[in-house]
Symmetry: C2
Subunit: 242 residues, 2 copies
């Protein structure tokens, strides 16, 4: 397999779950907000419900039920619903914006930054995320993710798994699809990327959804690289790139 | 003036001339190519003519005479003309592509990387250039320019000085125009940016055009920050951001 990734030029990363631990980060920041403001609520339930609304809300955009709406705005719409449902009342617009911006302040998994740093000198690094440009730019700076550029749903105004999202890195970086790899801890994302000719790299994040996790414990496709973790995946990619 | 830039969040940089020394880089690489291939030509004249065609060719896109065409493709069209005009014959498509890609391999001015590094922890850093995404991504990696993201003409499919280009950073980064600064060694670029409400920073690059330089030796507008050089400009911005 030595050098079978010799033509690889760019590695794009799914971000939520793959590089950053959204669930622990959000629960922690919402709980801290609740303590500061003297508000008791089921912040864990709210976090899981917020993430649970992610795919259905993006689907409304993907099917045309909603016009193009960036993820910050989908998150804000849903947060308004969830604050009512979870009995959190009386927040100011500034407080709601601060809470919605929690998605800009997610912490990386402990091994993400080192793995990306090891790949940085050899490959162009970018997210390929359903987040928007502001979210991902702020997140990369907060988490220390050393991206070269930000590619995301907002860049092409399509959400994954629309094919346009996977074609975008090659088109904008002037590369063939096989010169681009998507790395993700999610089987469905990688299967869609492979369908557009991208190289694929999987490793598991078995605690992404906490006790609710019910999938993505292992690779369920013929991916180019399968790592035990992100460090192992990065080492395999470097070895096979030659 | 202390803290009068306290709300500044992002600094965008004109790139050709402001951060990288395109003229010396291109002349040097074309001369090296000529020596390797045994081709004698007026490489300096070709370089100056190539850059001379830059604004007229972009103007064709800006006025609608040409459909949207990224800068790599404008450069390639012009290179074909110039190779004929300067008597360089018999190049393969691969050699022409290699020469056209010289714009991806420009060296930074000696003080650019340090100045950007000093600003990086406090501000979002991006180019705001007429280059395309692939060009600027490769250039940033070659030159060591520590951008957080790549914003450029291709991102909004408009060339500077179209107003859309200056509005784009705020729109994509969810910032007000006054929270964004354009830094450039070119008066006309900054005057257009100020017209869209951006903060502006000028410093001179008096040798950008070599012996042909006939403008931009000093600031000719009411810019927010005027530096003797890029290091001085960065120090002033940091002091006034508080």
């Amino acid at each position: 397999m030595k050098n079978d990734l010799g033509e690889l030029k760019a590695i794009c990363f799914d971000t939520f779950g793959t590089l950053v631990d959204w669930r622990t980060s959000i629960i922690g920041q919402l709980e801290a907000f609740g303590r500061e403001q003297g508000i008791e609520a089921d912040w864990t339930g709210l976090t899981d419900a917020w993430r649970g609304a992610y795919k259905p809300n993006m689907r409304k955009v993907r099917t045309g039920e909603l016009p193009w709406t960036k993820l910050d705005d989908l998150h804000a719409m849903e947060l308004d619903n969830l604050l009512v449902r979870f009995g959190v009342e009386g927040l100011s617009p500034e407080q709601k914006k601060h809470l919605n911006r929690v998605w800009h302040r997610l912490d990386p998994w402990p091994d993400s930054v080192g793995a990306l740093a090891s790949l940085k000198s050899r490959f162009i690094l970018s997210p390929l995320s359903n987040g928007n440009v502001a979210l991902l730019t702020n997140l990369a700076r907060h988490a220390g993710l050393p991206f070269d550029l930000i590619l995301c749903a907002e860049t092409c105004r399509h959400y994954k798994p629309d094919p346009e999202t996977y074609r975008m890195p090659g088109e904008l970086l002037d590369l063939e699809p096989h010169q681009v790899m998507l790395v993700a801890a999610h089987n469905d994302d990688l299967i869609a990327a492979a369908g557009q000719g991208l190289r694929t790299g999987f490793f598991p994040r078995p605690t992404e959804y906490g006790p609710l996790q019910n999938k993505d414990f292992k690779a369920e496709g013929e991916f180019d690289v399968i790592g035990e973790n992100i460090r192992d995946l990065a080492a395999q990619v470097l070895a096979r790139a030659g």
